[in-house]
């Protein structure tokens, strides 16, 4: 909190000093997208000489709070629609942000997937394997990580199908899954560290993009990626922060930055970093990297994010019940 307020104060102090504010924008993004946007920004700056794109990373909800409290981010690239909606409520982002850019303002998508140790010694193939007594599962606390919220929802979606909507059995399944988690980190990257560096757990659940990034970073021969039979479509919403760009006069640059994400060059960088993209040509090029998977949507299974928030993630909701009975 303190550091956020301080960062906000500093940003406010420094803003008038920068020679030409509109040459520079800040992208506030989620925890595990550091490498992705480093790569994207490099390409973007190469195509637009003289501009600077600064990055800020942290839990997506934390970033939203920081903006509400004064962090001057021109654009947000989040992993959760709800966190953009918080900015809408705060008057920072326009109501119809979803129609400002194609595909629900989500230039790429991913899904919760599994990363297992080399050779998959525990034979983990699908969600049902995660509740076995001999399997330890790593994912961060869904309360503090958007990434893990998708994991929780994907597992719930699987269980709803498998048990044909028998709520008691779904709850039991989720309860068992959470009992198999030995360490709850607060963010996606910390969970990765626990699994990779501390060698704890048999399977890490995180976005497919992150599983591909880990395999690339730490050696393809150390880990295997397992894509389950069914998973949840994870959209990565982008939006212009109107209040900030209007103040700083950076709307044009902010817009061209987000447009770039939809361009063939942008989509290629996104795909290279393990994200699935909608551009048909780019998708075709990277087809071999992304196994086919049946994706269900938040709207179809849960009836939308508002309902999810009140039913599952609010204080005293379903998730709290699961955590409280561990």
């Amino acid at each position: 909190m303190k550091s956020l307020i301080l960062a906000g104060a500093l940003a406010a102090l420094l803003a008038p000093l920068s020679a030409n504010a509109a040459d520079k924008i800040l992208n506030a993004s989620y925890d595990i997208s550091r490498e992705l946007f480093e790569a994207v920004n490099k390409e973007f700056v190469a195509a637009h000489p003289g501009v600077t794109v600064d990055q800020s990373h942290g839990g997506s909800s934390k970033q939203a709070r920081a903006i509400l409290e004064g962090l001057e981010a021109d654009v947000v690239t989040f992993n959760q629609i709800t966190d953009v909606n918080v900015l809408v409520k705060g008057g920072f982002v326009s109501d119809d942000w979803k129609s400002d850019f194609p595909h629900n303002a989500s230039p790429y998508y991913s899904l919760p997937a599994f990363l297992v140790r080399e050779g998959n010694p525990k034979g983990i193939k699908d969600w049902s394997d995660l509740v076995r007594d001999d399997v330890k599962v790593i994912f961060p606390n869904p309360k503090t990580s958007g990434n893990a919220r998708y994991t929780y929802l994907a597992a719930t979606a699987y269980a709803k199908e498998a048990f044909k909507g028998d709520d008691a059995k779904v709850d039991e399944f989720i309860g068992k899954l959470f009992k198999n988690v030995p360490v709850f980190d607060t963010g996606g990257r910390a969970a990765t560290t626990t699994f990779v560096e501390r060698e704890i757990g048999d399977v890490l659940i995180t976005f497919e993009a992150e599983t591909r990034g880990i395999a690339k970073e730490f050696g393809e021969d150390k880990f295997d990626i397992v894509v389950p039979s069914v998973s949840l479509l994870a959209e990565f919403p982008v939006a212009i922060v109107d209040k900030v760009v209007d103040k700083r006069g950076s709307r044009d640059l902010a817009k061209s930055y987000l447009d770039f994400l939809y361009s063939p060059e942008g989509q290629t960088v996104l795909a290279e970093n393990g994200n699935r993209v909608n551009d048909p040509k780019v998708a075709e090029t990277f087809k071999a990297d992304f196994p086919e998977v049946r994706l269900v949507t938040v709207e179809d299974v849960f009836g939308g994010w508002d309902k999810i928030t009140s039913e599952h993630f609010a204080s005293g909701g379903k998730l709290d019940k699961v955590l409280n009975t561990r």
Binding site: N141, P182, V183, F184, D185, E197, I200, S315
Partner: protein, 273 residues
């Protein structure tokens, strides 16, 4: 006190008061205000939920253990640094302050790396069946690390000022080493030790950055109160976050007030003696 050495007391007092109000009282006041906006019933329900109670238990017990640990080793460290001259003394003296300078998250990650099952210490300890990382022991280690300097730095100067004549006098009167320590040295150091202990404990109660990496963060087992506050913030539930934080705040405040009181009594006793 007839003539003040430094002029400008009203000015400096004014600056101090404004500073304390702006930097300390205002944020804390805002916190209390936020929590108070809940109404007594809702407040009580939040701060007395099972999960919150478990987090207080974990936090307070671990802070207590860390403080006891620091009391023993911090005192020993201060004693050695003051009473002995050995090569590397200045280096150790400087190292004591390192936990203050190091970002706590860095400390947490470093400690986790060392104490995880595949870390240097963790692997050795696993051999004898002790797990530190991702257990309450890990929380204690992190708390002890970040609050060590308090006890050393409060005891050290008082120990330096301690008149050797007192010990010599006790010796010449036939006191044994043990009784000199307990009956002469310890009472003189008591106020400083008390101050160090209370600061160390208060710091441990509030520590967050170092702990979340090593704790495992399992509700009811290794979830500290500061993390629960953070979780409520992530739900955009500012009021509940403020309510839980206020419990920590009140605990720390009451404890510091009590130690101040005890200290005042101890000082009076020392002066009379």
């Amino acid at each position: 006190m007839a003539r003040r050495v430094l002029p400008g007391l009203p000015l400096s007092l004014g600056i101090t008061l404004v500073y304390v109000c702006l930097i300390v009282a205002l944020p804390l006041g805002a916190l209390v205000f936020k929590a108070a906006s809940l109404g007594p019933e809702a407040y009580w329900e939040i701060v007395s939920s099972d999960r919150a109670l478990a987090s207080y238990r974990v936090t307070v017990l671990c802070a207590f253990a860390a403080t006891v640990f620091n009391l023993v080793f911090g005192f020993a460290l201060a004693w050695v640094l003051v009473r002995y001259r050995f090569p590397g003394r200045r280096l150790i003296d400087a190292l004591v302050d390192l936990p203050f300078a190091l970002p706590t998250a860095v400390a947490g990650i470093a400690l986790t790396t060392l104490f995880a099952q595949n870390g240097w210490f963790g692997a050795a300890l696993a051999g004898v069946g002790i797990k530190v990382a991702y257990t309450p022991l890990g929380i204690i280690v992190a708390m002890a690390f970040t609050s060590l300097p308090f006890i050393v730095r409060t005891v050290q100067p008082v120990l330096e000022e301690l008149d050797p004549a007192l010990e010599e006098a006790a010796q010449s009167l036939g006191g044994s080493d043990g009784s000199i320590f307990v009956r002469v040295i310890l009472p003189l150091l008591a106020p400083a030790i008390l101050a160090g202990v209370s600061l160390s404990f208060a710091r441990s109660l509030g520590e967050f950055g170092a702990i979340i990496f090593i704790a495992g963060n399992q509700p009811f087992e290794t979830e500290i109160t500061a993390l629960l506050t953070f979780i409520r913030l992530e739900e955009y539930d500012y009021q509940a976050a403020a309510a839980i934080a206020s419990v920590l705040l009140i605990t720390a405040f009451v404890m510091l007030a009590v130690t101040n009181l005890l200290q005042a009594r101890a000082l009076r006793y020392t002066v009379k003696a």
